[in-house]
């Protein structure tokens, strides 16, 4: 090497120094990339790698016409990060409080909150970053609208921000509340269709793995895996929103007029058993379910039992007719109070209006307790019990939720001496309103006991059906001819000679049965507390709808002091029936003289 600006010794020293520096860097690189690799990679993974859950949208609950009964709505939960607040922003708190519908004291309390109560290690592991101030805030209020109104973000308060969540929303508030059910505050399905069909409704959440930068923003180019969410299916019910509204309006009418303890109305299709509406009083607002008394959440139609009273007489009369023990014209002595039954002298129950002799048709139209008892005795204990079971009493109807109870029906071995005279008139037996309703449906649909049908279809998010529910017949109870005869006999109830002329709808052949059952108070049948009911269908010759109106303890507001089925429930049946005739386009059966006249030219 030629002589330059430095000696060889100096160059060697410089080279050694640079070599040492490079060596140090190399050693550090080896340390970082080889020896500490695992630990550092873990740290980097933790700092950069993110796992994002993409929430699936919960399916809607629809009525039979596709009207939305329950849907999911995007809303904001607004809160603050106490560690990021600036004292200079406190002047904006009153405006924030006004927007959120809370007080400044609430904001101050949230700002003061910290994780002081935690142990040191817990505090380090779980720093308090966000305290909720309010939820259910819509986007417009949060982000401002297009008309230039500033939202919460427009206040520019540092540390105040929101998280977007999907909240369940029930557009019709209390409509069909006992059927639809609701989600708990944690988003878990709690009751009703929401819970029973949760498997179909909730969908499958998606997720993606990605990385984020130092500003905690996702770096889309580093997405490694992306599993899209699968939205939940929609559930279409057999319920009709308009029918349901009619029912609830009628229940409100009953509540205003009689102030009952509770009441239930059920409407179903007579041929398929599909429920068109079911409602209870008192009810509750699904959007504010947590403010309702716990008792109001109860679905009385399936969870409570009552003694059905005279509506139960259809069992004894249908059974006797079906077994051909009697005909509609068979006459019975109902003037005698004591009869011989298998060598025992049994005292028959009292009739409200004493009669000497009644035919089977008369027994049903006048609701004779003695007549029903004599028909049951004609059948015998076992046969009468078999029919009672066949009509669905003493067993669950198969209603899918709501805590259905089977009612109470003792086997003949456990009957006392008087049961055969009392059960035919609807005492010594307890049933749910739904059981009574479907027992009447047996007569309306030609003798077959049906399972309550509430679900119509499961649809995907585009409205394409993926599953259809059919009606489920449980068993044949009586012959079709017997059912037709019974329908004709039940028509007599809603006539001037029957017990419920109030239920009659001219030209529509209303068939039904009243019930007025005494409630058991302190172990005794009370004369001042009754359950009034009217269960029926129309038109009798080709039934379209079955309606049950059951009103519990309306005596205090009845003029007579007793809540009779014909005074309390039958008028509701008629009002509801008249509305259904127009809404469902139910045609009259009998020829109308007016129409014949109109056809011939009409009045001039």
């Amino acid at each position: 090497m030629s002589k330059g600006f430095a000696s060889n010794y100096r160059i060697v020293c410089l080279a050694a120094g640079i070599g040492l520096c490079f060596g140090g860097v190399a050693l550090r690189l080896v340390d970082l990339h080889v020896w500490q690799r695992g630990e550092l990679l873990k740290y980097v993974e933790q700092a950069r790698r993110i796992f994002v859950v993409v929430n699936a949208r919960r399916g809607n609950i629809l009525d039979r016409n596709g009207d939305i009964l329950a849907t999911s709505r995007p809303l904001m939960e607004v809160g603050l990060d106490p560690s990021m607040l600036r004292p200079g922003d406190e002047a904006k708190w009153p405006e924030l409080a006004k927007m959120l519908g809370i007080t400044v004291a609430d904001i101050r309390a949230a700002a003061r909150r910290s994780n002081d109560g935690l142990e040191d290690d817990e505090r380090a592991a779980k720093p308090l970053q966000w305290v909720k101030l309010a939820d259910g805030i819509d986007d417009t209020l949060y982000e401002g609208d297009k008309n230039g109104h500033d939202g919460i973000l427009g206040l520019k308060i540092r540390g105040v921000y929101g998280n977007r969540v999907y909240r369940r929303y029930y557009p019709y508030n209390s409509l069909a509340s006992h059927l639809i059910g609701f989600l708990g505050s944690d988003g878990a399905a709690a009751t009703g269709v929401e819970r029973y069909m949760d498997f179909f409704l909730h969908g499958e959440n998606g997720w993606r793995e990605s990385e984020r930068n130092g500003q905690k923003k996702e770096l889309a180019q580093f997405q490694t895996r992306d599993v899209p969410p699968i939205d939940g299916y929609n559930i279409k019910l057999t319920i009709d929103m308009q029918v349901q509204h009619m029912i609830e309006a009628e229940l409100q009418h009953i509540a205003d007029q009689f102030s009952p303890l509770k009441a239930t109305i059920i409407v179903s299709d007579a041929q398929t058993g599909a429920l068109l509406g079911l409602a209870n009083y008192p009810t509750f607002n699904l959007n504010d379910f947590n403010k309702a008394p716990i008792a109001d959440l109860r679905n009385y139609a399936v969870a409570d039992v009552f003694e059905p009273g005279s509506t139960f007489k259809i069992v004894a009369i249908s059974g006797a007719l079906n077994d051909r023990l009697v005909t509609p014209d068979s006459a019975f002595d109902v003037g005698t109070s004591v009869v011989d039954y298998h060598g025992r002298q049994l005292r028959l129950p009292r009739d409200d209006h004493p009669f000497d002799t009644l035919t089977v048709a008369g027994i049903i139209s006048h609701s004779s307790n003695r007549g029903a008892a004599e028909l049951a005795m004609l059948m015998g204990d076992q046969r009468f019990y078999a029919y009672t079971r066949a009509f669905g009493f003493g067993q669950k109807t198969g209603f899918p939720f709501g805590g259905e109870v089977p009612g109470m029906l003792a086997a003949p071995e456990n009957w006392d001496g008087l049961t055969i005279t009392r059960m035919p008139m609807g005492q010594s037996v307890a049933a749910t309103p739904l059981q009574v309703h479907y027992a009447m449906t047996v007569i309306a649909d030609g003798g077959v006991l049906l399972r309550p049908k509430l679900f119509s279809e499961v649809e995907d998010e585009h409205g394409v059906p993926v599953f259809r529910f059919d009606e489920v017949p449980r068993r044949r109870v009586i012959e079709e001819a017997t059912a037709k005869t019974m329908a004709r006999l039940l028509e007599g109830v809603a006539t001037a000679e029957g017990t419920a002329p109030q239920a009659a709808i001219p030209h529509f052949e209303v068939a039904g049965k009243t019930g007025t059952s005494q409630k058991v108070i302190d172990g005794k049948y009370s004369d001042r507390h009754h359950v009034a009911s009217f269960v029926g269908f129309f038109p009798a010759s080709r039934p379209r709808v079955v309606i049950s109106v059951i009103v519990d303890d309306a005596d205090a507001h009845c003029p007579s002091g007793v809540a009779y089925g014909n005074a309390v429930a039958a008028p509701s049946f008629k009002r509801l029936g008249e509305e259904l005739i127009q809404y469902l386009d139910i045609k009259p059966v009998t020829d109308l003289p007016l129409n014949r006249f109109a056809f011939a030219g009409g009045p001039r």
């Binding site: 949208r57 009207d67 939305i68 849907t71 999911s72 709505r73 995007p74 819509d138 986007d139 977007r164 929303y169 557009p171 019709y172 508030n173 409509l175 996702e218 770096l219 889309a220 180019q221 997405q223 929103m241 308009q242 509204h245 709808i505 030209h507 008249e578 509305e579 005739i581 127009q582 045609k587 009259p588 020829d591 109308l592 007016l594 129409n595 014949r596 109109a598 056809f599 011939a600 030219g601 009409g602």
Partner: protein
């Protein structure tokens, strides 16, 4: 280039090295550009997805609001506040028509043609007057 010269190998090496440097440099720059483009496209996709999600959210919100606006309670309230006077027809006001409606309306308009008792049609031979 004089390949027979003594420093020909060095010259060749330098040329190839320079060429290699240019090649790998352009590959590197190309890779950087591609990665940049990928990130731009990915971010654009992400913002599109966010926009679609926002539209879906707004749609959900509209659907919920529409359903609430169509609720029977709301319609009854509007009927009352706007004094529209709309009411469900009562049973007494309804005339049920158990026959063909077209024929029924025609009967009302032309009673002489559509009477309850129909006259048989008599066909006559042409020519015989």
């Amino acid at each position: 280039m004089d390949k027979s010269a003594s420093n020909a190998f060095i010259n060749q090496l330098l040329t190839y090295t320079l060429g290699m440097l240019l090649f790998t440099g352009s590959i590197g720059l190309g890779t950087v550009w591609l990665r940049y483009e990928i990130s731009v496209v990915a971010n654009r996709n992400q913002s599109l997805q966010a926009k679609i999600a926002q539209v879906q959210r707004e749609l959900d919100d509209c659907i919920a609001e529409k359903a609430a606006a169509q609720s029977p309670d709301n319609l009854i309230r509007l009927n009352s506040t706007m004094r529209l006077g709309l009411d469900m027809p009562r049973q007494e006001q309804v005339e049920h028509v158990p026959v063909d409606v077209d024929q029924w309306l025609a009967g009302r308009r032309n009673p002489e043609l559509f009477t309850a008792e129909l006259q048989p049609v008599v066909l006559r031979r042409g020519g015989s007057r």
